[in-house]
Symmetry: C2
């Protein structure tokens, strides 16, 4: 093998069977989306980095795949970027070296700094020296920038710098410039260990000034580093692969707001990419299937989304999924009631573990996070919440009686629950789960999560919620959004495990024509044309039979691929304008005309 | 606006209507692919860079979008990459500086080089010096690599270098090291302008040696640069976005060769990305729709692909497309006959312009490219080729009578043409075009291109051909492939221009329920559930009417979106269990029960 081919970790090839199974799920979801009034949009695979960066937290930013600028970027990098690298990393070498060179040049050639012995003496004292440069610094900087003697590197370093910093550096150099002039200038340079020696000399020079200088140098270096990274990112990567479908949708709504009629119900089924560590069921490229509505705060949307989940999973014959629901306002309300409003995240993280670690450990964790015992005591009714939706609601009401926000959350939940009770669900169950907190940072109202039937050990197969300010990140305020997502890969695993894919999902070839020779092939293709026009998936074996082995090979080909019918056309069939049809399962063989052939296969 | 949202140039958002129209084309193509026996596969959006780079020529490599390694890459780059940058770009500064420092150290501290005055004199002559280092160079290199006095930078530079290069550098430094020792060592260093002065001194040192040295230095720098780019590419980008579907398909076939039953007919409809300059009809993200067969050299495949083109374009009602066909063997044959076998590309490029610039100019261009007049004279029959397929074939036969390869090409063309004549085409025309040369570098047999009906000014809307060694790039020899591709974006433009999209293509909402209040909404949703279960795309307006303006707003919403039916449910309807159905086109209004409602809308 010249090159052993493989694909990047976390990505997948899909063979025909897998594609067919995935399409079965996609088509089911798409069909339901459309009957519910959602319309498809598509957005580009990559967005401008600005659009994505900073929208998913620091961790998210790290997991976004950035795209290098097209082929030309090395040319750019060669010149500009190199200058930056050097000015950043070698700054403490070159900075002093350049300034020093410049000063030597000034001192030796033009006598610019000192007009007389008196002036030289005057500037030799620390204070006067600083004062002098303080006055001259702007003039000096512009001289530096214009001077052909000063390197490009240093010029770009000087531009936009803190002038106190420049002053200090200049002053330091000026001092030592004098020093050199008076002593053995050449020898001094040889022993010049700029990277560390400068600071040593600076310390002798003035303790205050040195510490000042070092602080400024540090902050300049940090700034320089940050600038540099921003620059590098912009220069070599201004685009990034889509991380989810929500942010691109928000961007779409704002960008096309004049073409969109609100409320806008859209669905989007496209791949997203995340530089996550790949593991079972977690990939670096995977599809999201999202439906969202923007532009309405009506709770009927939440009702509709629960119906939508029920419709899709019922259509997939995946019965018994649990649609969990919670409300951000209830979590906020509880935190408020127990005096932990500023510890909402700690509180919900601990509460979320109730199922796993039990009541006592949850309480311990809350205590350890600084939630008061008196507050935790008030939570007691929460731990005994159970049973039907309504009885849980009543428990919550007693806990939240003093929280306006909490009561609002209960009201929303009740509205949704009542509507669902009256409308009914086909196969799914709706369950209140006050520990549900996914996407807490984004959601402002309802929070959804769908669990597979309990027999299947797998994480959630769907989720969503309401965010009151979806498009705010792009400057369009007060557009409420609510949406849900289907986890294709996990749904696939569940259907596979429960053997729920329909047998007919893999659209195989219906019939293969054996190729006995060119005349026979031509005769066959005429029939094939008719079969195809009637929607029958038909193939002619491309290579003709020239010996008995070939015949076996072609029949084997049909067997290996599980093709149900084979047609044989020889001299006899051509003469009588018929086709020999072989049922590969039963072995039964029939000689029929074209019409009968079609009828048998269809 | 906080941030004006936009998308990267060359990419597109698709609104619901555009998605529907694109899906109409996709579905038509997909349907035809499947009836012709092709099965779908999907490959990841990004491949390992190794898989793609070098497969599309230099221009192609430049147009491949590379993906940055995930978030952590700066940490890597900080240390390792910097060293590389420096060793590459500052090599002519640091290299000499380091070696020089080392030699000074040796000379001053250990007296390693010279045991006596005699030895020193001995090595001071050019020849002896070189001989000495010639012997010592390996020893010296390993000393350098082990020595703590030698910087990491130089060590990594020395490793794996051309030893003659090291020898020359060492020798040069050695010479001048002696020089320094004897003269004013310190002063010498100060004036040391390494970047250019070294070469000046070298020239004095020995003309032969210098030119030798410079050649080697240049080639080392070039190598260094290439190494560095490869390194950079690997470090910061090991993945790249798919550039076409053919190379990933070849990779797929080789990687999964044990699971695939040959001949393998696959189709693939996925986006590809190219960092091309965007222009009208040319995008940086676009879909390709490819069907290929691998593992058979049968010409029936070519026949099938022509039928497939005809089937798809007929199904799209795009009548009168021209399927142009040529054969690489004919082009090679003609070039052979006119004695321009080594100028095949120049020859075909010129011939390709026949339509645009005419016979005389084509001949001029061929002459200017070094094709002999006597050869061009032999082409005469080619210029008068016209008319039906068969008469063109006859013309070609007379030209190619002496070329075995050319005659083979004619034979292939005749086979295909005869079969197509007998099978017939629905709406397309098959045309021989000896000037057709697309993908000349890849194709080995048939070459296809599809032109839109002549009334539409647009480039080709499809193309393909046969490549005898598709998978050879991945080490699997002798697997012939033949395939075609459909240009989605151009087909879209053609259908748009000719107004060929079916009116029903945009699956709109069928019916909107006006929301008069919560009770009415609930009543409505029960009906909506039934309608949806019957495949009717139905929506409830989410917000309820609380004043007369709202009513107008909801009706307007239906109008703006072109929704054909609206249902109104008020107290009266609820009491009588009926629905008021309004036809938004005719204005007609009916009060009906659920059954009648469904019947009216369906």
């Amino acid at each position: 093998m010249a090159q052993k081919p493989s694909i990047p970790k976390g990505t997948r090839d899909f063979n025909p069977e897998q594609v067919a199974k995935r399409n079965y799920i996609f088509n089911t979801i798409r069909g339901a989306f459309e009957t519910f009034g959602f319309q498809p949009i598509e957005t580009p695979s990559f967005e401008n980095s600005d659009t994505l960066m900073g929208k998913y937290g620091e961790e998210g930013d790290r997991l976004i795949f950035k795209i290098l600028e097209s082929g030309e970027y090395f040319q750019k990098v060669d010149r500009e970027l190199l200058e930056r690298w050097i000015s950043l990393y070698l700054v403490n070498v070159y900075l002093f070296k350049d300034i020093f060179d410049y000063l030597l040049y000034r001192i030796n050639r033009t006598n610019y700094a000192f007009q007389s012995k008196e002036e030289l003496d005057f500037y030799s004292t620390d204070k006067n020296c600083i004062r002098y440069f303080n006055l001259k610094v702007d003039e000096w900087v512009s001289f530096l920038i214009d001077s052909p003697q000063v390197s490009h590197k240093y010029k770009s370093f000087v531009k936009g710098r803190n002038s106190k910093f420049i002053l200090l550096v200049s002053d330091f150099i000026y001092q030592h410039g004098l020093d050199f002039k008076q002593k053995n200038q050449d020898k001094k340079i040889i022993n010049w260990k700029l990277d560390w020696a400068n600071r040593q000399i600076l310390k002798q020079f003035s303790n205050d000034l040195t510490s000042d200088f070092e602080d400024i140098l540090d902050s300049e270096l940090k700034k320089s580093k940050k600038d540099f990274y921003n620059y590098l990112n912009k220069e070599i990567s201004g685009k990034a692969l889509r991380y989810d479908l929500t942010v691109p949708f928000a961007r779409y709504v704002v960008q096309h707001r004049h073409e969109i009629e609100l409320p806008f119900k859209r669905y989007q089924i496209q791949p997203v990419w995340r530089a996550d560590r790949p593991q079972k069921g977690r990939f670096r490229e995977f599809f999201q299937c999202d439906a969202d509505v923007v532009g309405s705060k009506s709770l009927w949307q939440e009702v509709e989304f629960i119906q939508l989940y029920d419709t899709v999973f019922s259509a997939l014959k995946l019965e018994g999924v649990t649609i969990k629901i919670n409300n951000r306002k209830i979590l906020s309300g509880i935190a408020e009631v127990i005096g932990a409003k500023d510890r909402l995240i700690d509180f919900t993280v601990a509460l979320d573990k109730l199922d796993k670690i039990g009541e006592e450990k949850v309480k311990e964790e809350m205590l350890s996070k600084g939630i008061l015992q008196s507050g935790i005591d008030k939570l007691q009714p929460l731990f005994s919440l159970s049973g039907a939706f309504e009885s849980q609601i009543n428990g919550l009401k007693s806990i939240l009686s003093t929280s306006k926000e909490g009561l609002k959350g209960i009201e929303e939940l009740e509205f949704i629950s009542n509507a669902i009770t009256k409308l009914g669900l086909q196969t799914a169950n709706l369950e209140l789960d006050v520990t549900l907190a996914r996407g807490l940072n984004y959601y402002t109202g309802a929070i959804f999560e769908v669990a597979a039937p309990k027999t299947v050990k797998i994480g959630s197969i769907g989720g969503g919620g309401r965010y009151d300010d979806l498009t705010g990140i792009f400057g369009l305020k007060d557009v409420s959004g609510v949406g849900i997502s289907f986890g294709l890969d996990r749904i696939y695993l569940v259907l596979e495990e429960l053997n729920l894919f329909p047998e007919t999902v893999n659209k195989n070839i219906d019939v293969l024509f054996i190729n006995f020779g060119d005349k026979e092939a031509l005769f066959s293709l005429k029939a094939i044309k008719q079969l195809r026009a009637n929607g029958v998936n038909t193939e002619l074996y491309p290579d003709k039979i020239t010996n008995s082995k070939h015949m076996k090979k072609q029949m084997n080909h049909a067997n290996k691929r599980g093709i149900p019918f084979v047609v044989l056309v020889g001299e006899e069939e051509m003469a009588s304008n018929t086709y020999t049809l072989k049922n590969m399962t039963s072995g039964e063989q029939l000689k029929v005309n074209l019409e009968a052939l079609l009828a048998h296969i269809k």
